[in-house]
Amino acid sequence: MPPVQILFIIIAAATLGAALMVVTTSNLVHSALWLVVALFGIAVFFILLDAAFLAVAQVVIYIGAIAILMIFAIMLTRKMVKNPSPQFNTNWAWGIVISVVFFAGLFWMLNSWPGVNTSMPALGPNINPVVDLGEALVSPDAYVLPFEVASVLLMAALVGSIFIAWNRK
């Protein structure tokens, strides 16, 4: 087994374990911190795939912005930390069935795809993924339209949040 594969298994186990802790821990702040661990595990996956930009963006956006705001919101609600609600409701058996079926479907689908057994091709010395990604985001025959639509959507969200928070006097 090549070392990258061993690393992959360790990181995958850690990420899945952290993800499981997110939903089973009764303390809300703890589960938010476990979420940080799980998100960081995803960032390590991106590094294993030679996608450094995606890895760092994952950390900046998901840990630097989303997780911190979550923890901030949880810290403001003391009562929820002190009196946790039960972790399982009556539908937990159905949840297991659905996730097992979903996992089996994904497994079968990926197994029938020929690309699953090929190893990752190495990047050439003259390939700069960051530059390629940047150019693809603004070139008209690549992703300029989705990029602009997403920007407009974010702009609308910004304007909307200011409108809600505006104190008219």
Binding site: P3, V29, H30, L33, V36, A52, F53, V56, A57, V59, V60, I63, G64, A65, A67, I68, L69, I71, F72, M75, N128, P129, V130
Partner: protein
Amino acid sequence: MGDPITLIANWLSGLLTGWGLAPWLVTLIMSVIGIVAIATFVLLVDIFLVWVERKVVARFQDRLGPNRLGPFGLIQPIADVLKLLIKEDITPEGADKIIFNLSPIIALATVILLWGVIPLSPTILGSDINVGVLFIVAVGAFSTLGIIMAGWASNNKFALLGAFRTVAQLVSYEIPMVISLEVPVLLARSMGIHTIVNSQNVWYIVIAPVAGLLFFISSIAELGRTPFDLLEAESEIVAGFHIEYTGMKFGLFYAGELLHALTVSALFSSLFLGGWRGPFADQIPLLGVVYLFIKSFFIYFVIMWIKYSFPRIRIDHMLAFNWKFLTPLSLSVLIMTAILSKVLQGVSQPVYILTMLLANIVIAWITLTIVRRYAHVQRKQFTEFRPVAVPEKAQVTTTNP
């Protein structure tokens, strides 16, 4: 010649390969040795920083500072470390033990992590990743997380207040910092810090002084140093997030804060002051380390100078200063630099530098004019109404019981 570190690294990796180890194992061992070496070096500098900080603040406050142990009190920091190590380690009741103990480690580790991407000299550098600048921002996110964890886990209302202030301050000051970091990225056409240093034939502080100043101000806010030290304001919330920490756990926070200041100085030097560049640095790489540290310590001195001469800024002023001043200014500087660097493609070097400098001066002048006008309006507003107790207007009731 002049580069013993690369020499030792090459010799060691040759030796390990000669022992018949697999190439990936050799890379792993060399990386671990490199990480341990750079972290140890940085932490040793950190012990020295305590002495520098105490000596400089003493001069600012017209005192002598530590002067008993060793020449110029140089052994004092070692005595301090020993004192912190043998102090009683208290975990407050009701504290979240794991998170409480984890957060000082995160606070110091994130700072050391930043040294991985700062090129110390043309050949001595931790890692030349092509997203170096974004990596700095990502690590900053983790240091915010460490402070929040400390504030929450302490089970103390002042610590929690400190954590709240931290989120408000660090998250908002991240925006002008990231935008002003874009300017050197734009000028060097790369996010790798090594490439940015290499392309600084002229220091970027000359080409983009406004962006440099913005990065400097917002990184002082990220440090949480005066005038932005609201997260540990002693007179308001006692000591903020690290109120409950004792002994070496407090020491880690303190060391992290001092080292973070030096790290920010080194980053500023790398991005705007040419990093290791200087006379003969290309021939003798060890000289590059010396140049980088001279520049960094100069910036470190400026940070201390600001720290010990400015009063603390009020919290609403802190947020208003960020959102109404720094963010619009950094956005306009970024847009101006982007347009100019596209327009000026192909012109000769002196014309390029002069135009960039001139554009920066124009932006600074316009900003100052707007600020002056705003201040004028504000001053008028506050001087017109002066609520003074006037005898005929005051309703004096003279009823003697």
